[in-house]
């Protein structure tokens, strides 16, 4: 029995590149990874949004209406519903004028997880606790 923690570090804004979408879809796929693992093995995903990556957190995205695509916000909500830990760098959020009121949540849909805004120092601690880091 083993636990491996993967850190998905998102540094890019949404829609400019595929990076944030890939980060979230990869993290969400942790929900089905057990078909490849031994009984008792656990893969724990953690998504950290840093730098321009925090811009993905702006709620009210119209990706579906305008592009016909699941918005990055939609991916964030799905990740929360799948119990994926999401951390956002509070200093970077402040830099881009984002507040807690801007951040999507899935509580009304029954999610236990929510996006937590934490300091860069705490993001670093989370990253240091990961076995592997994947940058997007």
């Amino acid at each position: 029995m083993a636990t491996t923690k993967l850190g998905f570090i998102v540094q890019r804004p949404g829609y400019k590149s595929e990076n944030p979408k890939l980060a979230f879809t990869h993290a969400i796929s942790s929900q089905t990874v057990e078909i490849y693992l031994e009984d008792g093995d656990v893969l724990e995903p953690m998504v950290a949004l840093v730098g321009e990556g925090v811009l993905n957190l702006k709620s009210g995205q119209k990706g579906l209406e305008i592009y016909g695509l699941t918005s990055t916000e939609g991916h964030i909500v799905n990740a929360l519903l799948c119990d994926v830990k999401i951390r956002a760098c509070s200093e970077d959020m402040e830099r881009y004028g984002l507040t807690v009121a801007d951040v999507p949540d899935a509580e009304a849909m029954g999610a236990d997880e929510k996006v937590e805004m934490v300091s860069w120092d705490d993001i670093m601690k989370e990253m240091e606790s990961c076995d592997h880091l994947l940058f997007f």
């Binding site: 083993a2 491996t4 993967l6 540094q11 890019r12 590149s17 595929e18 990076n19 890939l22 879809t25 990869h26 796929s29 942790s30 929900q31 089905t32 990874v33 078909i35 490849y36 693992l37 093995d41 893969l43 995903p45 592997h132 880091l133 994947l134 940058f135 997007f136």
Partner: protein, 119 residues
């Protein structure tokens, strides 16, 4: 011997990141390491059959085939391929088409994970 899981999501043409990822895999295999190679996003174009080998554009299909002959598992994100219109019949022989959880499972017991991309 260690296990390396290498993921890449950069396009084959338009960036040198995929070339670098393949070079890294070759070097690791030469040094006796086990390598799993995962491509997603625009990098899936590397799995498209019938790419032409022009000298001005990156072409790594032959090198990936050599790596597969040395035991490297090359796996392509099936959804990323399908969204680009690359069907099963368009996939280079020997390459796996799987969901993203294959990559995570490979990372689970890897000694090192490299994730290369961004464009």
């Amino acid at each position: 011997m260690s296990k390396l899981t290498i993921g890449c999501f950069s396009s084959l043409v338009g960036s040198m990141s995929l070339d670098f990822a393949v070079k890294l895999a070759e070097t690791a295999v030469e040094k006796g390491h086990q390598v799993d190679f995962w491509v997603s996003g625009n990098a899936t174009m590397v799995a498209k059959t019938n790419a032409k080998d022009f000298q001005d554009y990156s072409f790594v299909a032959g090198r990936l085939k050599d790596l597969m002959g040395k035991g490297v598992q090359v796996t392509v994100c099936e959804a990323c391929m399908e969204s680009r219109g690359y069907g099963k019949d368009d996939t280079v022989e020997g390459m796996n088409r799987k969901s993203m959880d294959w990559f995570l499972a490979s990372a689970f017991d890897a000694d090192r994970v490299f994730h290369i991309g961004g464009e």
